[in-house]
Subunit: 439 residues, 2 copies
């Protein structure tokens, strides 16, 4: 609590900030989607940069309030108030919980084979390039430095949401490439989350040796697998418990409560909160409640999730990025190359032709919210500084912008993406895979 400011004033400021954040998020998101034909998350990030404490928010003073609208809190690992940051993190928990909930566990397992192979390529190369660039440009002292590790982890992320959204918009979700991209993106998310866990573990213990890495990875995988196996085994009992409640709205409230608890438990096990939330979503995705919960969380999602992205935008310190533009652009180029090649080459090996591999590579490009979440975790942990964070935002925005721009022509330039016509890893896909005529 700040000195000289009463609890009532803090709460008033908080309500004002939330109102302004949601208002600008929705206006920026709408403009981005409707006029710029881009995912609204980009608009929300830019809105956050503009109204944040490093820009307008630090200067605007609303009459009847104390200080600036978004005062810059120096000396803290985060430049916004603890109540705003806490709510933004709760929003990230909701985001990952809903992402888990929306994952089709059965379909995911069906296409797991080739998708995993492609995803691994899309993890190894971006991670290595991210580490290398951070060391090369002098932002880390070695490959096991927290900044280098985090830059790698941030490069790994693939946004299932943005990819799915674009493919759905151009009606290519059920092509061989579409199904494979989604499968790989999901595997990529899971691996990315494990990589994050390992990186956090490494950075927290401060001992950067392979023993620590192995132990952290083992603990992360162990917790994750235990949680998933136990969770899936008792999923129907959890669903039964949630369904027992007859009072209105109890089921959805309890599901959200379980997501919060899983997030806290994951954190206690040395993992990130979002890992627990995603796992809880996955567990509930396989129950009869999944559809009901997805529907019921829609409004909560749309009210609170933009708060997270606007707050992430607010963390961008332009001063810190001034000396890092070359680094930022290099990282962005490496992010593109490593992902397109890292996924495209394995795709060639599992039955896709060059056209198909290009489509998959481009489809895996957008880093989206996952990269931002990872960067946000690094920032909150005090592991990465404003430079790496700013560069991550730049890279995320560039890759997220480029993906739809390249995806649409790549998919509409006709022809199957499979080496053997419609025979390939996705023959079970509805609509006969890539054999259908393209616009």
């Amino acid at each position: 609590m700040e000195h000289g400011v009463s609890v009532v004033e803090i709460v008033m400021q908080f309500a004002l900030q939330l109102g302004v954040i949601i208002l600008v998020a929705k206006i920026a998101g709408e403009i981005t989607e409707r006029y710029l034909k881009q995912p609204s998350v980009l608009g929300e990030l830019v809105a956050g940069m503009i109204i944040g404490p490093f820009a307008l928010g630090g200067m605007i003073h609303i009459p009847g309030t104390h200080g600036a609208l978004f005062p810059l809190l120096e000396g803290s690992t985060i430049p916004v108030s603890i109540e705003l940051w806490a709510l933004a993190q709760i929003a990230a928990v909701i985001l990952l919980f809903v992402a888990g909930l929306e994952t089709d566990l059965q379909n995911f397992l069906k296409y797991a084979g080739p998708a995993t192979f492609i995803a691994i390529g899309g993890v190894v190369f971006p991670f290595a390039f991210g580490q290398w660039a951070t060391v090369y440009f002098g932002f880390a002292e070695g490959y096991m430095d927290g900044s280098a590790l985090f830059m790698g982890a941030i490069m790994v992320a693939t946004s299932v949401g943005i990819t799915a959204r674009v493919l759905s918009d151009i009606h290519k979700l059920d092509t061989a490439e579409g199904v494979t991209i989604l499968g790989a993106a999901v595997v990529d998310d899971v691996i990315g989350i494990l990589v994050l866990a390992v990186v956090i573990g490494l950075a927290r213990t401060g001992e950067f040796n392979w023993g620590t890495a192995g132990w952290t990875f083992g603990k992360a995988v162990g917790f994750y697998l235990t949680f998933m196996i136990v969770g899936l085994a008792i999923a129907k009992y959890i669903a039964g418990f949630l369904d027992w409640f007859k009072s209105r709205g109890a089921t959805v409230a309890l599901a959200v409560a379980l997501a919060f608890l899983a997030a806290a438990v994951a954190e206690m096990f040395g993992l990130a909160m979002i890992i627990g939330a995603y796992a809880m979503g996955l567990v509930l995705s396989d129950t009869k409640l999944a559809h009901y919960l997805e529907e019921q969380t829609t409004a909560i999602y749309h009210v609170f999730v933009p708060v997270f992205f606007v707050v992430l935008g607010m963390l961008v310190d332009f001063r810190a990025m001034r000396g890092a533009m070359v680094f930022g652009l290099t990282v962005s180029v490496l992010a593109i190359i490593s992902k397109v090649a890292g996924c495209g080459v394995p795709a060639l090996a599992v039955g896709f032709n060059k056209r198909g591999s290009w489509r998959i590579g481009i489809g895996m490009l957008p880093r989206g919210e996952v990269a931002l979440i990872v960067a946000g975790v690094g920032m909150a942990e005090g592991i990465i500084g404003p430079t790496i964070f700013g560069v991550s935002i730049l890279m995320t925005m560039i890759t997220t912008l480029l993906a739809p721009i390249f995806l649409v022509p790549a998919f509409q330039s006709g022809g199957s993406g499979l080496r053997n016509g419609d025979d390939g890893p996705t023959t079970k896909a509805e609509g006969g895979g890539g054999s259908e005529p393209t616009a």
Copy 2:
């Protein structure tokens, strides 16, 4: 921010607290509703008392976390963390926004006449008795003392929600008494909110004279009327603005943002946040979006509003109530007498017989969430202490418990509640008012 605890740990503790709060709220609410046949809000309050920092929450220590689950923050006006308190207040804003949204403005205006007359009786007597008891028992130095004023304001409140819920459960909402009770409860809410504004104004300025009272009342009424007149005049443009957004979920998110902004603006004008939120709800209740917004805010309501009631329960300091049990029980008895007589006698004057007046008096009894909100504001402002707060909770629980217990037999003991059969103030009510046979 506490010393020695990182931002990540604060957020983890926050997620854990929220998860526990929602979980116990829903379990307690379900038990209260299903087995005790009482409004779930009672269960939520009791749950808060049990898991709060003054009870179990201050003792339980979860492995892997720092300190107690709900550590008792001494030296602050509130015993819970600022992030939890801020979220609880945001939940109160959502509660009052939805209450405003659900109000049928046209119906309200139609029955405003007799309802207002009855409501005024239900304001004047409880307020005077509340003030008197506080002074008599030595908890205030005079009638213009902040504690006496707040006790009065807390006694005034009527919970539209609980009354409506019970009458709906026994299918008596459309009787003459039912419609009048709802109308009076709404007027009562509005007057109660104005009384709160005046009381806060008086307590804040510290000058307890009739000039200040008049100025504060004028400012409150002025702001409220200006907001409502301008709001209703531009309501369709606001609805048009919200409707302009095509991106999914934007409309509901923006409506909630407007509620937050209205809450903050009301606070800037020296009123309480909930006043602004309720007014914004009322403004939007008269637009074509009202039904859509009610539906869309349901899940948000059910996830977050219980947090507010559990946190209110957490504020109850049992130690502070030990010496005030006689005061508390006296206040509770006065709360019953003043409301039943204060509303019942005016009801006799506008066309109801003794049976009808008794029904109306009992129907106006439950103080519910409105009293708790008022008490919470007093606590946060530092105007009332833990004793007055605890007594308010006790009074609220007793009146809220008694109302359904008396209401059901009162309505089922047959016969019209009107002096002239079905001729009375509510002849326009669907179903022919009180003339229908009672079970």
